[in-house]
Amino acid sequence: MKHIRPVNSEKVARETVGCRECPTSCQSACKTSCTVGNQVCVQMEKVKPNNRGGVKI
């Protein structure tokens, strides 16, 4: 495309809904481990592993 370049085309996982095995979310600033948007879906992680090296979230 000439005017728009998609950075990603992987949409929100609507098919892996609600296994509820991903880490619990908490927004407290003193807990780095659990913000919602920074999490990786555990189902997707099985398909596309990517060792980030930080605290498992």
Binding site: K11, V12, G18, S25, S33, V36, G54, K56
Partner: protein, 454 residues
Amino acid sequence: MKSPRIHQFEINGEKLVFDVESDTLHQVDDLAWKVMSLLDAGYPVGRIKEILADEYFTQDITETLEEINYLQQQDLLWGSPLETTGTSESMVKALCLNIAHTCNLSCRYCFAGEGSYGGEDSLMSPEVGKVAIDFLLDNSGGRKRLEVDYFGGEPLLNFETVKETTAYARQRARETGVEFGFTLTTNGLLLTEDVINYLQAEGFSVILSLDGRKEVHDRMRRSPGGDPSYEKVKERLLNFLARWNGNYYVRGTFTSYNLDFSKDVAHMVDLGFRNISLEPAVSSPEDDWALSQKDLPYLEKEYERLAEYYLQKLHEKDPFDFFHFAVDLDRGPCVYKRLSGCGAGNEYLAVTPTGELYPCHQLVGDESLCLGNVRQLPNFIPPSSEAFPPAGPLHGKCASCWARYHCGGGCRAAARLVNGSFHQPYELECALQKKRLECALYIKSKINEKSTTC
């Protein structure tokens, strides 16, 4: 108020459009930026062509509209709303075990009353730790992955209970087939060789507290007698780093005294740390270190400076991980997770040394929110929505925020501390969260640009 479905923003000349519902990001040129802006404002195509006719060739406008139309058909622009029929049944997944209500530091900004949470100093017994593990298993609803975070005060002041509780959890894991993930948050002063070896062998994730530059760290993080702690902490953490082969984050706090916090991140990188988080202090507006709305313009530019530093290190092939920039657009949370918001008081609970349950660690000590005791509650009942109102992208002001599926609804404890109410989001926190997300997306676009042009 209307829920935004796209978010347009610009950083360092890069024009980006984030599609809220599909979680996709697009780099756009000036024309596409203007067309999307007009479409989102409700202008019909014919009128858009008229408005832009003096500035752009008709063919370019038509091409842009065709590209937009194609992306809409793929559900990648103005995507269809997220919805789920997922269960709302309460199941506890994670416990924050306040293993020690005491601390060997006396940090000025500590929300926990310098470790004791406003009460007497106390330590959790191994017996309470084990009962808490049983409570977690009994109320986990059959989940396979459970989380235990050893927290304080300083949890290593009660290392024996950490070890006994972990051993018991391991035993119960073998019996039940569940998997426990353990995290320990420490100021580092008691990270001896034996402790490091133990944490390594048990596969802990470790969060280490360091605020950055010496003068920044020592301003807030001092011993109960007032002695600075930077040199001792640095020595311990570097020894940890040299021996550690597992998951960790170095985590600091910035205040109004170090608005230039990107220098503190750079300091941590220079020390050798590669997994870093730096968080804004949450405090009463009266505190001298409190951040305020007047700091926001500077803080927003500072996150942009940090993003540029992040990219610079990446290009130098010496990358580091900054927690808030680690947004994975391809493997992020599912719909259910995005809609469920913060887990406090539901999936996530804090346990005091005597076994009392609270919605989260930030609310420990507020007796009006005590949810009982792990020793007396075979079946956990979450707090009522009146006592502890729900949070998340579908509630209150969050429903009209473009970052709603990334944020989780903000920290309710912080909101109450600053605003006196769980219902009113903490606006500065919201603004910083949105800026961090913009920077994370900007980084994604720059990485993508490099990978597709090389």
